[in-house]
């Protein structure tokens, strides 16, 4: 009788099993991308701020991905244009929360920051704003962090310079009410210092582009009380347009701008009308730091224009998020990670967060536009 032996498994069975196990492991190895949100105004009158910020974030993300991502995960950017509209900004952040972004870079303006703040806190989602400087966002234990100083530093520096230089003592001020939190806060800080030093704000106007009054009319109104200087707190496009109209009416009057308007676009749109205009900012275009120089070169090569302060601060903001994501411990929130790390490397200089996620960068400078360039004068 023939013995029925237990058959050995066919070698193919082992091969197929091996392949399946291999596939299973390789499938497990495919990590989902890590989502990072960017929200800012990339269209309309504030677009220069948003576009520069967005491009810098995109560049940083590409650099990160080229270097292998974060813990092996590629970073994917979810970009939203808030159109400087609070409702759209809220919708954008809600979309990002739904998509499960790890953090948000932005918003780029203070008003949009205030609009999305409740959503961020509710979702426990960290947002690091490159350029939201209003003091309304300071001293809060919230999820809104920022890498730039508050309006106070800029406004005080500007007021102090104007008085010290003797440029202006009786000024008319105009601000954009579409970013009211930032503008009013800026004006209050300026006025406080300016008047304390003997200056006077004789006339204040608010405006919103697209409303009934033309820029020329606003210019006329600003000059009506014969000021010796004009303060404009607005985005670069509106600042340039106002400068052009004021220049048409009085080519010799001194004009100074808030940091918001001090982008490269001001030079492009303002032409000769912005020559001699002073601006305040914590950003130095001639900073020799190699990190900044490398970034600027790569940015210029890719986007064919200067990154400006929105680009530099957006890059700093995204580096805060990347560093925190890389060093975060298990069960630690991103906010706690940032606060525990506290100190970060910026493109131009290092900066530290306080317990509320605010930053103080004590290097504000006064720049003057000469030959379509920003020149540091103080």
């Amino acid at each position: 009788m023939i013995n029925r032996c237990r058959r050995k498994p066919f070698p193919g069975v082992w091969i197929i099993t091996g392949i399946l196990v291999g596939l299973l492991f390789s499938a497990c190895g495919d990590k989902d991308p890590l989502l990072i949100g960017f929200v800012g105004g990339t269209s309309g009158r504030v677009a220069d701020l948003g576009i520069s910020g967005r491009d810098a974030v995109q560049l940083a993300v590409d650099q990160c991905n080229r270097a292998g991502g974060i813990h092996g995960r590629q970073v994917q950017l979810v970009m939203k244009d808030d159109q400087q509209d609070p409702d759209i900004a809220r919708q954008a952040v809600q979309d990002m929360i739904r998509k499960g972004v790890a953090a948000v870079i932005g918003p780029m303006t203070s008003d949009m920051g205030l609009a999305v703040l409740p959503l961020l806190d509710e979702a426990g989602l960290l947002a690091v704003s490159p350029t939201g400087t209003s003091q309304s966002l300071s001293g809060r234990d919230d999820h809104f962090f920022r890498v730039c100083s508050t309006t106070r530093e800029f406004a005080v520096k500007s007021a102090d310079y104007q008085i010290r230089s003797g440029n202006m003592r009786r000024i008319s001020a105009i601000y954009d009410k579409s970013n009211l939190s930032f503008c009013k806060n800026w004006l209050e800080n300026f006025t406080e210092t300016f008047t304390a030093l003997g200056g006077e704000v004789i006339h204040t106007l608010e405006f919103q582009a697209g409303e009934e009054r033309s820029f020329l009319e606003l210019g006329r109104d600003l000059l009506r009380m014969k000021p010796d200087g004009i303060l404009i707190i607005a985005n670069s496009m509106d600042s340039a347009m106002l400068c052009q109209q004021i220049h048409k009416l009085d080519p010799d009057i001194a004009i100074t701008l808030a940091d918001w308007g001090a982008t490269e676009r001001l030079l492009e749109l303002g032409g000769k009308a912005v020559e001699g205009v002073t601006v305040v900012q914590t950003f130095n275009r001639d900073n020799p730091n190699p990190r900044f120089q490398d970034f600027r070169k790569e940015y210029l090569d890719r986007f064919h224009r200067e990154p400006g302060f929105p680009g530099v601060y957006a890059h700093d903001a995204v580096q805060v998020v990347f560093t925190a994501l890389k060093t975060r411990k298990k069960n630690q929130t991103l906010k706690d990670t940032v606060l525990s790390l506290k100190k970060f490397q910026g493109l131009q200089n290092d900066f530290s967060f306080d317990a509320f996620g605010d930053v103080e960068r004590l290097n504000a400078s006064i720049n003057i536009v000469q030959n379509q360039k920003f020149i540091v004068v103080d």
Binding site: A47, Q58, N65, S214, M237, E268, G271
Partner: protein
């Protein structure tokens, strides 16, 4: 030793190997020929789309170029143009802003915009825009060759605060500039009959999106890596690239004029979906075919196995003496030969057996008729047969004696010379006196030897009550001589 596998499994595996071969060939053909063809077809389809979109945009922009050139020619011929008439003329050229949002005249080194025409919705801004200094705009300085149109890079329009491109035509002393806002372009490509699922992007010289069919990437910078253009074709590049960390397959076509590009793309998973579907379908069909082939092979092998089992049973039946077997007709020559061979074998065995029976019968008749007693025993010395003389001599009928040991001690043995002398050495236990004389002498040990004579004088010896001891080479069949 490895246990043999069933013929069913063996043949199934063999058939399976045979069936896999065409499956592999078909898979290779699909992979190497059909899929590249489908890929090429997808690229051609995208190329066609890109060409169509580029043509549409080019026509749109070139229409503007012709319009502005005609306007420039007209203005050149007018020596003295009243400002109000000029503004009306420029306004009418802008109309509703379907192409130009603003058309203005400026002196490069002068005092900004000297005259401006606006689309209907923007006319309230005229006061702001008149006299606007444009020296910060790079295109103002780039346009130098008179009457040669120049397309600017994209910029944020002062008029509309939207992304725009300017067409500049230098005149004798000044420039005429038309601003085209690009969100209208997005609207234009969105309305083109482009296949659903395709993304159409118009990129400027710096790969910045100036128009997007989905209107979500406007103004973004995209890293499109153009691949090598097909041989003989210019202005096209196709290939895969990353867009927002998603792999796309796209074709880039140049737009003459502003030096832009049209990118028609779709996610690679969508682009290759028909190919993947075809491949998966083919793979499923081939797998199914293979499974069916294996099932058919197993079924056929089972039939063959059944047939072989039948032949085995027939062989066993033949071994049991069943020679009149029915052999089924076979379609194969080998099996038919096997059946015939078995049949012949059965007939041969039957014939030989018959001859043996006849021989036995003859022998029995002979034994029954002879005067000698013949007792036949089996291997154990038990009686199997006795002839009548043996029955008579032993006094025991055959029917009783069968199966009993050969009762040598009870036999009155009187044998004479029943073995030749030369074989005496074979009988060590037989006393020499008995060997010499054949006299009825009993062994001194009371173990009477007993001789059995066969046809060849084979000899057995045994003791009383003991089983016979076979002597090697001797048969167990013998004859008792005259007792």
């Amino acid at each position: 030793m490895k246990s043999p596998m069933s013929i069913r499994l063996y043949l199934s595996l063999k058939f399976g190997i045979v069936a896999i071969l065409p499956v592999l060939i078909i898979a290779v053909v699909i992979w190497q020929l059909q899929i590249p063809q489908m890929r090429t077809r997808t690229e051609i389809q995208q190329k066609g789309m890109a060409r169509a979109v580029a043509g549409q945009i080019s026509a749109h922009l070139m229409g503007g170029e012709r319009q502005l050139s005609a306007l420039a020619d007209y203005l050149k011929q007018q020596d003295d143009f009243q400002p109000s008439r000029l503004v009306s003329l420029l306004d009418s050229q802008c109309g509703e802003g379907n192409l130009f949002e603003a058309i203005y005249i400026t002196v490069p080194q002068g005092n900004g915009i000297t005259a401006i025409g606006l689309s209907h919705s923007c006319r309230s801004k005229r006061e702001d825009l008149l006299g606007l200094d444009l020296s910060g705009r790079s295109f103002i300085h780039q346009a130098r060759v008179p009457e040669t149109p120049l397309w600017s890079e994209t910029f944020l329009s002062t008029t509309t605060s939207r992304l725009a491109v300017a067409l500049v035509i230098p005149l004798a002393h000044d420039l005429i500039i038309g601003e085209i806002t690009l969100d209208k372009l997005s609207e234009l490509i969105r309305l083109l009959p482009v296949e659903e699922g395709l993304t159409v992007l118009v990129l400027d010289g710096q790969n910045r999106v100036v128009a997007d069919s989905h209107q979500i990437r406007l103004g973004q910078h995209v890293n499109v890596i153009p691949q090598k253009a097909a041989k003989g074709e210019t202005g096209f590049a196709a290939g895969a690239f990353d867009l927002e960390d998603k792999l796309f397959l796209g074709t880039v076509a140049d737009i003459p004029g502003p030096g832009w590009k049209v990118l028609v793309a779709q996610p690679i998973e969508d682009a290759y979906r028909p190919i993947r579907f075809a491949f998966i379908t083919s793979a499923l069909v081939l797998t199914l075919s293979l499974a069916l082939a294996l099932a058919a092979a197993a079924f056929q092998a089972g039939n063959l196995s059944k047939l072989l089992r039948f032949y085995t049973q027939q062989a066993q039946a033949i071994s049991q003496g069943n020679y009149n077997l029915q052999w089924p007709p076979s379609k194969t020559a080998e099996l038919m030969n096997l059946g015939q061979s078995f049949e012949r074998m059965a007939q041969d065995i039957s014939r030989r057996e018959k001859a043996l029976v006849e021989s036995e019968t003859r022998m029995r008749i002979t034994l029954d008729s002879i005067g000698d007693a013949v007792i036949t025993t089996d291997d154990h010395g038990r009686i199997t047969r006795m002839n009548p003389m043996a029955e008579k001599l032993t006094g025991q009928p055959l029917i009783e004696a069968v199966g009993l040991p050969l009762p040598g001690n009870r036999l009155p043995i009187r044998l004479q010379k029943f073995w030749p002398r030369e074989k005496s050495s074979d009988l060590p236990t037989i006393p020499s006196s008995y060997r010499e004389t054949g006299a009825n002498t009993r062994s001194p040990t009371a173990e009477p030897p007993f001789g059995i004579r066969t046809g060849e004088w084979s000899v057995w010896s045994w003791s009383s009550g003991m089983s016979p001891k076979p002597i090697p080479g001797k048969k167990k069949f013998g004859r008792v001589n005259d007792c």
